[in-house]
Structure formats: C-alpha cells, structure tokens
C-alpha cells in the first residue's frame, strides 16, 4: 500500500518536472515567436540621425570642372611652406 503510494507520488513529481520544462520551453518559444512577429510588424526605429541628402558626386564634379575651366572657380593652392627662422 505504502509502496504503491510512493510510486504514485514519484510519478506525480516526474509529471510536475515535465510540466515545468514544458512551461519554460513554451515561454521561450512564445518569446522567440513574438520577437519574430514584432520584427515583421514594425521592424524598428531610426538608428541614426537623418541628414540631408546630397547631390550625386558625378554631377558635382562635372559642374566643378566646368567652373574651373571657365575660371569661375580658382584651383586650390598649396599653403606656403613653413620655415623656421635661423637662430
């Protein structure tokens, strides 16, 4: 009688351990599934400051060359060399 009761208690403990594992696994699965659905639903927020869009480099270069050829824009000059005064 006592042995039978012990067997039933041990089986109940095993079932409880299994149920806890199922609960933990279920929680983890719910977390992962919700994260995936959250990503699909609303992917994220802006992760950098927006900056003004700039003109294509090629366009800017073409106009700059044209300005240089026409003398509208002077080519950049190298700064004068620096010399130290003889002591």
């Amino acid at each position: 009688m006592a042995r039978s009761r012990e067997r039933r208690l041990a089986a109940a403990r095993r079932r409880a351990t299994f149920a806890k594992a199922v609960l933990a696994a279920g929680g983890a699965c719910a977390f992962l599934a919700a994260a995936a659905l959250a990503k699909v639903t609303y992917p994220g927020h802006h992760k950098r400051h927006s900056r003004s869009l700039s003109a294509p480099k090629r366009f800017v270069e073409v106009v700059r060359q044209n300005q240089l050829q026409a003398g509208i824009l002077a080519p950049a000059e190298a700064p004068p060399g620096v010399t130290s005064a003889p002591s």
Binding site: R8, L9, A11, A12, R13, R15, A16, A19, K20, L23, A24, G26, G27, A28, A30, F31, L32, A33, A34, A35, L37, A38, K39, T41, Y42, P43, G44, H45, H46, K47, R48, S50, S52, L53, S54, A55, P56, R58, F59, V60, V62, V63, R64, Q65, N66, Q67, Q69, A70, I72
Partner: protein
C-alpha cells in the same frame, strides 16, 4: 539608463511583455483549476502547486526582461522614475500606469507567497485573489499601450487569453458547460470591441508603398559656364515622413542627366532613381528602393522669393 540603440533590444522588450502575459494567463488558469474542488487523480495538489509556483517565477523573469529592455533602449522615452512610478511616463500614461501597478502588485503577491506559512490562511487567500487584478491590469496595459496592439495576431492572443481565463473562472465557481462557453465568447467580443472602438490604434506606415505628404524645402543652383546643377531638397511630412532630393545636370538648352533620391523615415531606407518629367514648379520621378520595390513620385510646389518652397508630394507603387 539609455544604453543601447540596437533594434534587438526593442524586439526583446515587446516579445518579453507578450511572453509574460501568456505565461501569466496560463498560471492564472492553473490556479483556478487548483482552487476548484475537483481532484485530479494523476495530479495531486503538491504537483500542481509546484508547477503553479514555477510558472509565477517565469512570469516574473519575463517581466524583468520587459522592464530592463525598455529602460535600456535609448529610443524609448522612459526614465527610471517613469518605469517605477505610475503616471510619470509621458507615453499613454493610464495604460503604462496599469502595467506598472500590475507588475508591482505581482511583486507584492510574490512576497505574500514567500511568507505564506507565517500568514493567516484567510489573509493569504484574500491577497491571492488580487492576482485577478494583476491579470486584468496586464490585459488592459497590453491592449492599450502595446506597439503591436493593432495586429491581428496579438488581438487573437488577447482574445484567446481572455476567453480562457473567463471560462476557467466560470468553471471554478461551478458554472461550467454552456455558461462558461458563453462567458468566453463574451470575453472575445469585448476584446474585439475594445480593439476596434476606444482602444483603436493605427500605427504609422513603415516604408509605405503609397502615401501623400506636405513638402517643405528649397531650390539650389550651382552654375558653371556651360553646365549647371539645379537641385530641389525637401522633407515630406504626413503619415509617412521622408526626405527627397532631385538633381538636374543642365547643359544649355538640354537636360544632361537627372538623379532622384527618397529616404524613408524613420527606417532610413533609400529609394534611388531619376527624374522623368520636369515642370516649372515640380517634377515626376521614379526610383527603386533597397528592398527591390519601385515607387513613382509626383512633387508640386510654389516657390517663395528666398528659393524655399512648400507643396505636396504623392508617392505610389
């Protein structure tokens, strides 16, 4: 507290809240099953209590993840005080407060559970009934402030959870069968009514296929002797915010080349293409976005003497 800008943090915050709510619902239903007089042959009370207690710990763990990830996300406007003290948060104060109160009440009930053996049974039992308040607070918090609250999948989860708890409550008070089913259906109807009625939420579109907006920008000119670059740069405000820029490379009496860029905000996704038609006060353009989809753009405006302009933007696929 705002230490990360990773989107993973934001997904984790939302997912942890949902996982905590589902586990809380499971634990509440389990508690209602235990409280009934019906005894299960294969599940003695100590085994059910063990699972119930473990479930409560799991709920607490996911709530901690939910709170910590919200606190550390640099994008979200929650200070430490806004996370701990109800009605301090500026984001949907009532619904956020319900979540805070529910979490703090759950913590208080966990303390009463820990000292259960030292407390009078009737005191502990009455306190334990407050778990219904925790669950109700969590339900309204999720329906009223969750980012995903307008999505069918989350509404279905809420409806299923409400139906399960109401049916279990009806069974607990020996009102099973048809009445429990009717109460569960009423719960589902209540969630749907709240979601389409007072708690209705329409989120801003994300990289919308089609949208209209108000344009504010300026015209720029950079001229050489035989070439000139004329550009229009503007921001578009409306449901979908965006930055746009159109550049025209001009030879005398001829359009040499064009470029068009559109940046979706807040995603930062770019759509690059070219101008298809130039008008005195506007242009049409087409572009291909980074996700491979195509957009056709119409911009019209009126210019002020200082070269700034205001107008309208229309985008469609």
């Amino acid at each position: 507290m705002h230490v990360t800008t990773s989107p993973v943090d934001w997904y984790a915050a939302r997912a942890a809240g949902i996982a905590a709510y589902l586990l809380l619902t499971t634990v509440v239903c389990l508690g209602l099953t235990m409280a009934g007089r019906k005894r299960l042959e294969r599940w003695p009370r100590f085994a059910l209590e063990d699972v119930h207690r473990f479930g409560g710990l799991l709920v607490g763990s996911f709530i901690v993840i939910h709170v910590v990830t919200i606190a550390t996300d640099a994008y979200l406007p929650f200070s430490l005080a806004a996370i701990i003290v109800p009605f301090v948060a500026s984001y949907r104060p009532l619904f956020t407060a319900l979540g805070i109160v529910a979490a703090e009440l759950l913590l208080a009930l966990a303390v009463t559970n820990h000292y259960r053996a030292r407390l009078p049974y009737h005191y502990w039992r009455r306190a334990h009934y407050l778990n219904f308040g925790v669950w109700t607070g969590a339900t309204v918090h999720g329906l009223g402030s969750g980012t995903d609250r307008s999505t069918p999948w989350l509404l279905a989860l809420f409806a299923a959870a409400v139906a399960a708890v109401l049916a279990a409550t009806a069974s607990r008070f020996r009102r099973g069968g048809v009445l429990a089913g009717g109460i569960a259906v009423a719960g589902v109807a209540l969630v749907v009514l709240l979601a389409v009625g007072p708690l209705r939420f329409t989120p801003r579109p994300w990289n919308a296929q089609a949208f209209d907006g108000v344009l504010t920008g300026h015209v720029l000119q950079d001229a050489g002797s035989t070439r000139a670059l004329v550009s229009a740069a503007a921001t578009a405000d409306g449901k979908q915010r965006a930055l746009i820029r159109a550049d025209l490379l001009i030879e005398p009496h001829k359009l040499d080349a064009t470029s068009f860029q559109l940046e979706f905000l807040p995603s930062g996704m770019l759509c690059n293409g070219h101008v298809t038609r130039v008008q005195s006060f506007g242009f049409d353009a087409t572009c291909r976005a980074q996700d491979g989809t195509r957009r056709i753009v119409h911009a019209r405006w009126s210019v002020s003497p200082d070269s700034s302009f205001t107008g309208s933007l229309s985008v469609h696929a």
